[in-house]
């Protein structure tokens, strides 16, 4: 047991750092530091820089552009990327549909889609949740019916579809056998968002942002070749997808970067005659998060280092632990950021999250406007990707055998 990075791992970390220093556009970095919203082009630009370097899809097999890094290297890369801070590559392509296609897709599907995911030529979104199928995902109703021999006809509605407003493609769970047991009648379908009959309607969230959408399917024709794997086996692929993300799910690098930001803000905010950071209670609250975060980083590395001994086609219940604790820490930090700005959390100034240069300065400090929206926005992380309560059910069943 040696928990220090090896000389090779340190050299690798330095290589990643120096790449990020030179390759990450400063305007993107500053938006992330300041908590302003990224535009679609920011993610595309950054993904193409990564792809140019050969680091767009590090976890994929080498033949599809993967880097062959060890689990620890994967962790180091993502940790440095998130701390820079650089945008995390769009998860729906790189970490969701991509690995599913690699594991279960046809050769033609892989050739068609994988290179375009790596370069973010195709923007993917995820069509799992429905108005009546949240935590009970398998009760989904969106139906795909074969029409003759050439295509499915899809009818139904998906919801909470993140960034569907930019999407070229959506991967969907659809019901192909309405009479089978609910998990056994589901298929995994790739649908072109430009297909006639697809409608996207925005949902505004409590932070005032527009990340999620409803997506409606009205007699949408989908070629049979867009079925992934076998018909009625989609539930297995969905489980694979949800448990597949092990190295990044805890978002530790983001939390480290946010703690730095928090400390910087708390050093600038004054509470009476001294900076807020000198307040013992406030400092202890930050330190408590730092302790849990350091522990979680070690837990994450334990999972990452053990990765090579796992069967990669099975979901790993350890990812549920990482997701629960990682999301709790992200939320705790967003709370402290809001507390740090004190009364100026009150002023609602969403324009400062979108535009860099406005004629008037904001009410209160420059760093204030994103903090309350950030706090409200972060409530999502314990809900999406399987709520923390569902994660606990998974752990109870698959780790503890209850």
């Amino acid at each position: 047991m040696d928990l220090r990075f090896t000389a090779e791992e340190i050299a690798f970390r330095d290589e990643v750092r120096s790449f990020l220093r030179t390759a990450l556009p400063d305007d993107i970095r500053r938006k992330l530091v300041e908590g302003r919203r990224l535009k679609k082009d920011d993610l595309v630009t950054w993904q193409r820089i990564l792809n140019g370097k050969g680091w767009a899809v590090p976890t994929w097999p080498a033949e599809w552009g993967g880097t062959g890094w060890t689990g620890v290297q994967q962790y180091i890369f993502l940790d440095e990327l998130l701390q820079a801070p650089a945008p995390q590559p769009l998860q729906f392509g790189v970490n969701m549909v991509g690995p599913v296609l690699i594991a279960f897709g046809t050769e033609a599907q892989k050739r068609r889609f994988l290179p375009r995911i790596a370069n973010l030529d195709d923007w993917w979104c995820q069509g799992f949740s429905e108005p009546g199928a949240g935590s009970d995902l398998a009760s989904l109703k969106t139906a795909a019916r074969r029409n003759g021999g050439n295509f499915y006809v899809v009818n139904g509605q998906k919801t909470w579809t993140t960034l569907a407003q930019y999407a070229d493609w959506i991967f969907c769970l659809v019901r192909t056998n309405p009479t089978a047991k609910k998990q056994e009648g589901i298929s995994f379908l790739l649908i072109d968002m430009k297909s006639p009959g697809v409608t996207v309607r925005p949902i505004e969230t409590i932070d005032g942002g527009h990340e999620v959408n409803e997506v409606f399917f009205d007699n949408v024709r989908v070629p049979l070749e867009n079925l992934v794997g076998q018909e009625n086996r989609g539930w297995d692929y969905a489980k694979f997808l949800l448990g597949n993300e092990r190295t990044g799910i805890a978002r530790i690098g983001i939390s480290k970067e946010r703690i730095r930001r928090l400390k910087q803000i708390a050093a600038l905010e004054r509470d009476g005659d001294r900076p807020l950071i000198e307040d013992e209670r406030f400092r202890s609250k930050i330190a408590a998060v730092e302790v849990e975060l350091r522990a979680l980083e070690m837990t994450q590395l334990r999972v990452a280092a053990a990765d090579r001994s796992r069967d990669a086609t099975l979901p790993d219940p350890a990812s549920s632990i990482l997701k629960i604790k990682g999301s709790e820490l992200q939320q705790a930090i967003s709370e402290l950021l809001l507390e740090a700005v004190g009364p100026f959390g009150l002023a609602y100034q969403p324009q400062y999250l979108e535009d860099e240069r406005l004629n008037e300065p904001p009410i209160g400090p420059d760093w204030g406007p994103p903090l309350a929206p950030g706090y409200f926005n972060m409530r999502k992380v314990s809900i999406y990707g399987g709520t923390n309560e569902i994660q606990k059910n998974i752990i109870a069943k698959s780790i503890l055998g209850l």
Partner: protein, 383 residues
């Protein structure tokens, strides 16, 4: 980065587990606690024969000079079995102080006796007023010719009642909380002027209050440079924190397993109570707390030999915070999920709960270390 044990470490773990499975049932432990010194001399000899008391002691002193990982493996197994013997007092604290501060003659004399189990040592440091501040030493040592005269009262000396020799701290100069001016003195526990009052601790182990009244100590019994002992004390206490963290993880893992087993076995309303979601979620919260604690115990172990004292101490403080908080959550919930049986002296889970509660109070509780960590700027630099 590598989380695997070596072959030797795996063998060590298996042999410690085998010994404790054979000899340290809960019933056997109850009997050991009733022996005159509150632990089993026979098991102590077994530990010595297996080399567990000399893990960090050099080969030429009868030890095996292992890394801290072997101590972690041993302490974790001791935590699972709720071992009563003075491993931390003698092997970690006593042995550590000698290894770091002892001169060659002192090491030649004492370390082989620690490794072979013939001498039990205790570290007398805490005082009534000192709470968790290691520099807070009011006991005094003054020169009398070439000898030292020690006066003062030490409290909560782990296994101080059974110790053959006591390493005590005392102030040579300065005010009670000064970093400078502290010395370490190794004295025979039966020296004239020493009076000891032994008592049980809440976790079924033993401690003593020790009063030094004009105790005369020969110059060759001074450990290290008189007046400069605090860094040594801090280093050895950090080492003890790492060992206690591992022991706590052993106890937490055992409590968690007992609780999961109980949820599967106990039936109410016609079903095993483990089918109830509110109980499932609690036992998952315990698992997460356990894994977080295990991660920090591993990190603490890796930092034992870190030469940068500030960095080492930051990690130890963080580990102590995590261990304290996880231990409290797991202990309280383990009792709660067992219901009434968890409250009884006859059932094991409550004894684990008491041990992790005791460990939190040793060498600074979670709050103490969190405050210290926060004052020092935390773990992540602002820029």
């Amino acid at each position: 980065m590598d989380f695997e044990f070596t072959e030797e470490q795996r063998i060590l773990r298996e042999s410690v587990d085998r010994l404790l499975n054979d000899q340290y049932s809960f019933e056997a432990r109850r009997a050991y606690a009733k022996e005159p010194q509150g632990f089993s001399r026979e098991l102590w000899r077994h530990y010595a024969e297996m080399g567990l008391l000399g893990l960090r002691i050099a080969h030429h002193h009868g030890g095996s000079a292992t890394s801290p990982v072997e101590v972690m493996i041993t302490a974790e197994a001791f935590g699972r079995a709720l071992v009563l013997e003075p491993f931390v007092a003698t092997a970690v604290l006593g042995g550590g102080l000698l290894r770091y501060a002892g001169n060659p003659q002192q090491c030649d004399h004492w370390l082989p006796k620690i490794a072979d189990g013939t001498q039990i040592l205790a570290f007398a440091h805490a005082e009534r007023q000192s709470r968790y501040v290691l520099a807070d030493v009011a006991a005094t040592a003054r020169l009398d010719g070439s000898s030292w005269i020690i006066d003062g009262a030490k409290t909560l000396v782990l296994h101080g009642d059974s110790a053959d020799a006591v390493i005590t701290s005392a102030r040579i100069s300065g005010a009670p909380r000064d970093r400078d001016g502290i010395g370490l003195f190794l004295v025979d526990a039966k020296s004239p002027g020493i009076s000891r009052r032994g008592y049980p601790t809440i976790d079924g182990q033993r401690a003593a209050d020790i009063v030094f009244s004009a105790v005369k100590v020969a110059p060759e019994a001074v450990l290290g440079e008189p007046g400069k002992a605090l860094p040594t004390i801090e280093r050895v206490v950090d080492e003890a924190v790492a060992a206690l963290a591992a022991e706590a993880v052993g106890a937490m893992a055992a409590m968690h397993q007992l609780t999961v087993d109980y949820l599967k076995m106990r039936r109410q309303f016609g079903v095993p109570i483990g089918q109830f979601q509110s109980l499932q979620h609690k036992v998952v919260d315990m698992l997460i707390a356990l894994e977080q604690a295990r991660s920090m115990a591993m990190l603490a172990t890796m930092m034992v030999d870190e030469q940068d004292a500030d960095e080492r101490h930051r990690v130890m403080a963080a580990a102590k915070v995590q261990i304290g908080r996880s231990g409290r959550l797991i202990g309280q919930q383990a009792v709660q999920l067992h219901g009434g049986i968890g409250m009884t002296m006859e059932y094991k889970v409550g004894h684990y709960f008491k041990r992790v509660t005791a460990i939190d109070t040793l060498f600074g509780d979670a709050d103490h270390h969190l405050t210290a960590l926060a004052r020092g700027g935390g773990l992540i630099p602002a820029v």
